[in-house]
Symmetry: C2
Subunit: 642 residues, 2 copies
């Protein structure tokens, strides 16, 4: 489809193509996970990771003075492209270059940059990102590991006080990592200052665990078995004072703690906020994996025949069955929608973090974190759903490893719960909206919402989304007057679609705010108040992301090259919008936004749009530009789609 | 929970306990899939399968004269229990004892029984069930393999005429099978008589493929890697005339084909119908796997804490969060519902096949096939959804193989598409209802529906489910008068629940019939007519199964021991019913069966019922009676739930 692929590739086409070429060059890796033992596979992934540093991709996002290219946008795009290939490689690279090197870059200062950054970027210093503990994943503020300053020796003592404080699921730890960026409660002079990050060597040059460090292997996993996840236990391990990544807080030799950010919560979330890149990247990777799965399943459905039509000796192509279209094409449309939402997020990320000011505007940063959290949650759930549907749509053939869907399914499955559990992330999104990204927003703690709402900010939140004003405003904005008379009128109108999604978002937020305030004012227990509407909070977060994603898609249609690209995208965008509304039609009817006949008209139109998209389905997956090495599987005859 | 476990175990408790004990005795297998190479794992599974024959479980369902125990009900219950353990073992045993030995028993005659049955039952003769081909899965009637009778030698010549006719995904073929029950087009005297089954030796005693038989390995799969799935290609392989399993059709030495069933379609579906046990068993296995996953995830959620409530230093148990309850408890309720629907199906299966008459009433058999197809489709999709949710609910810990959810997810994934693709099966369910199980019902061919509807039966189908009469009847039957006034009144009334589900089922069926008839009468292309409402057909099939499942649960509540078991089951049954109605509430509102306020009241009640069930959640999963060996995983502290 002329021009569509270029449009999708966007401004970072060159960075994407470097990774595409690399992927084609070492496509063997895609099979090796099946042939090799787990340790061999891990070593192979490490080798491959070190090879791709030579492509220049992995250093792209780092400052030039440390061997990087200062091209954050290209780095993000390249990482997204890397997810077309072996996902263990993508995750291992993410741990090394995104999380470990990223922590040094963002949380450290010149001393750390000078000492470690070039080695980390080039893959000579292999590192871990040791945040999660067995007892605490989402609630990072409650981590148990301690880093206690000993002024007598000028060292920090890193310690695991109890089994639940063991660092767990740490990538690069079980086999290859030499150093870990360890998140621990910083204790100075007997006072705890909250979670900070320190660089702790964990293995000697010959690969043996250092004294006091116990490393165990997490063992086999559902997927990503090319990544050596492990557990770290520290027994009074001493590191020099300079091991503290001290950009946001410093400890001097005498043991005086200083920080330019006085509020401990705000300090914590400022530090954590610099790590938003991980969520941006995982969301992008999930969307890429969905593209791979759809490319395979749609090509298969365009070749595989089953059951002859009456009066015909030739069997019917799977993709000509309505049910098959219904199962795959709305997911294709949503993948496009998420692609553009992700592109918008990545651009915003680069705007905020790519310049010299590096995220200085706190409101911008909080908003970016919420956008990243929302896109990550929706994108990764989308990948799980899409890959599952693709597997089923390919029947038994889809279950065989040789056809790649098995690995896609297994490898991406953890995306919904790592880099932030999706339900917790959607709470974070909703909370940001309720509090207009004020103060302690960013806190993953869901209970913080209730506490916060109990405080003074509730008036602002509720005023902002006051139901009565909202409904009146929306009554004018949403062109639902079409709902009377001809049920089909205006159904493909952009403003109608976004108006409905916006109405839902704001109505839900207002409802949540009202319920929270009502409960607190009635004197109910804060946890009870929050917990009663937790499902409502999460649904409101989701409604917000749905609206943002749709509007990103609509904007991309407007900006698309005239002619075929724009026409095809408009069809897909309508399909996506109407399938989304269809999925929530109960809510719209309950809230008087859809009549029964109009709701049925929308369902019928979704079917029609599927039929409209169907003849272009192959062109639409080809436009994703997934390299042949990643999608030429035995069950699909390649010649038919080249 | 006193009495509940016994009630769930039902009349075949002894058969279940034999398998439970066996599972505890060879629990090692659950880890071995991770430690061993694929071939070692396969051999280990074979060894285990041969060991369990000693338990007497695998022979239980076979006639006493061949070493069996003539206890079909116990056999089915035991097989269901086997699915608590390693699923490769369950599938391998299913292939050997269910499919292979089952084909000999049901399609063969005394000669075959005498010669092979005892060896097959004891696991001495390892066999395959070679039905599916690369080019044809669901459309079995279109298989390409041929079995041509050569009167000169009195042999059948088995042949694979083209690559798409290769037998594919055949369990037991890649490594262990010695013989295959091969489904092939029977050609006698130049005339094709449709698909029949023949016993074809494929390997010599020393394990080498026999001349003319090419065996390849399907290689690694997403799961079930302890099963040696392979491909079989036949090059003019000769077998004696007696290799034809000739219960329903015979070929004499001179090459005369005879059958007591004249209509070839009916003959085909009669033969296939005897194999319904496979679908009954897989549906049961899927429900068992869901029980294992829920036992693990609910125990974890009752131990794992995250985020402290305001004013409390102790963090909150996951299962006390509303969202967590919402995610897990309706699935727990549906698992109970499916348990009872499966028990009803198994009892019906035993009634029809367990006696001497073996399925003589054709209408009964067709109805049983539809019930098995529906329960299999809904049960296996339920397993996929439930295990996925359990995995996510356990976060990163759920992704580690040591906690078992990974294997459950990977191993069960193929259940939705093997033993009949679920979408095709739901079409079959709908078709049976539309045609009242007449004549060619049973044909998986979806287009058969359109053709059939075009014929004389359409009047009967449409009359039977005439919309006008239906609506009038239902207006009286469904107690939706409560919908006015108090929106909560009667919401926990059994008749209200089943009335709503029944209304939906019959309304959808009537709608489908009307659309099909309308299209055909308008002279539209039959395929187009069918295809336009394929999604509607499938939804109608699903609506039927939902109603059957609910009514089975309601009947089980009525029959439960008084006191706690019945009280707990009633809560779960209400939760299941209302969550189902909630899921389809858009449809009910569109069709005037629910008002907006009542719909919201139902959602609120689902939340309340979750809270009501929550304190009993541990007791409710304990009642499944999953042996500790299958659920005592590192992330759950066993002492807390014993």
């Amino acid at each position: 489809m002329t021009g569509l692929r270029e449009y999708l590739d966007g401004p970072h086409k060159a960075a994407r193509d470097v990774v595409r070429d690399g992927l084609a060059a070492h496509a063997d890796l895609l099979d090796e996970g099946l042939r090799l033992t787990r340790d061999e596979y891990r070593d192979q992934v490490l080798e491959m990771m070190q090879q791709i540093t030579a492509d220049g991709h992995t250093s792209r996002g780092f400052p030039k003075e440390y061997g990087g290219q200062g091209d954050l946008g290209g780095f993000i795009a390249g990482f997204e492209t890397l997810a077309f290939g072996d996902l263990s490689l993508m995750v291992k690279a993410g741990v090394q270059f995104g999380l470990f090197a990223g922590a040094i870059l963002h949380l450290g200062t010149t001393r750390h940059h000078d000492e470690y950054l070039a080695d980390a970027i080039e893959g000579r210093l292999l590192g871990c990102f040791a945040m999660t503990e067995t007892g605490h994943g989402s609630n990072v503020q409650a981590l148990g590991t301690t880093a206690t300053y000993d002024p007598a020796t000028g060292e920090f003592v890193i310690h695991t006080p109890h089994p639940a404080a063991r660092k767990d699921y740490i990538g690069n730890a079980a086999r290859h990592g030499r150093m870990a960026a360890v998140f621990a409660q910083l204790v100075v002079g007997g006072e705890t200052h909250g979670v900070h990050c320190l660089l702790v060597p964990i293995r000697s040059a010959d690969g043996e665990p250092l004294p006091g460090v116990t490393i165990t292997d997490c063992g086999p996993k559902l997927g990503l078995n090319g990544v050596d996840n492990g557990r770290l236990v520290f027994d009074q391990v001493r590191v020099p004072r300079t091991a503290l990544l001290d950009r946001y807080a410093q400890v001097d030799a005498k043991g005086t703690y200083t920080s330019e950010i006085e509020n401990p919560d705000r300090r914590f979330f400022t530090m954590l906020g610099t790590l938003v890149q991980g969520r941006v990247s995982i969301g992008g990777a999930a969307i890429s994996a969905s593209k791979v799965a759809l490319t395979i399943a749609i090509r298969y459905a365009d070749q595989r025949r089953q059951f002859a039509a009456p009066g015909s000796s030739e069997e019917v192509l799977l993709l000509d069955y309505r049910m098959h279209q219904r199962r795959l094409l709305p997911l294709l449309a949503r993948t496009y929608a998420l692609h553009f939402a992700q592109a918008e997020l990545a651009a915003e990320f680069v705007r905020i973090f790519g310049g010299d000011g590096e995220g200085n505007d706190e409101h911008d940063r909080r908003a970016l974190e919420a956008q990243a959290a929302g896109t990550k949650a929706v994108g990764t759930w989308h990948a799980t759903e899409t890959i599952q549907m693709c597997r089923e749509a390919c029947g038994g053939a889809g279950y065989l490893s040789e056809n790649r869907l098995a690995a896609l399914k297994a490898d991406t499955d953890v995306f919904t719960t790592f880099e932030g559990d999706n339900t917790v992330l959607l709470q974070l999104v909703a909370k940001g909206l309720l509090t207009d990204y004020r103060e302690s927003f960013g806190k993953l703690d869901p209970l913080g919402t209730a506490r916060f709402i109990a405080g003074q900010a509730v008036e602002i939140a509720v005023e902002k989304t006051s139901v009565r004003a909202l409904v009146e405003r929306l009554r004018d904005a949403v062109p639902n007057r079409n709902d009377k008379g001809d049920p089909d009128a205006g159904l493909r109108d952009d403003a109608y679609h976004s108006g409905l999604l916006r109405y839902r978002e704001e109505h839900m937020l207002a409802g949540v705010a009202r319920r929270l305030r009502g409960g607190i004012e009635a004197g109910d227990d804060a946890f009870e108040v929050f917990n009663r509407c937790q499902d409502h909070v999460i649904a409101a977060g989701r409604a917000h992301v749905d609206r943002v994603v749709l509007e990103a898609f609509q904007a991309a249609v407007q900006a698309a090259p005239e002619g075929e690209p724009r026409e095809r995208l408009k069809e897909l965008c309508d399909l996506h919008a109407l399938a989304t509304i269809e999925g929530e039609r109960a809510w719209y009817i309950e809230h008087g936004r859809l009549s029964g006949p109009r709701s049925k008209a929308i369902m019928a139109l979704v079917n029609e749009l599927c039929a409209l998209v169907r003849p272009h389905a192959i062109g639409l997956v080809d436009a994703f530009g997934v390299p042949g090495a990643a999608v030429d599987v035995p069950m699909v005859v390649p010649s038919q789609h080249e």
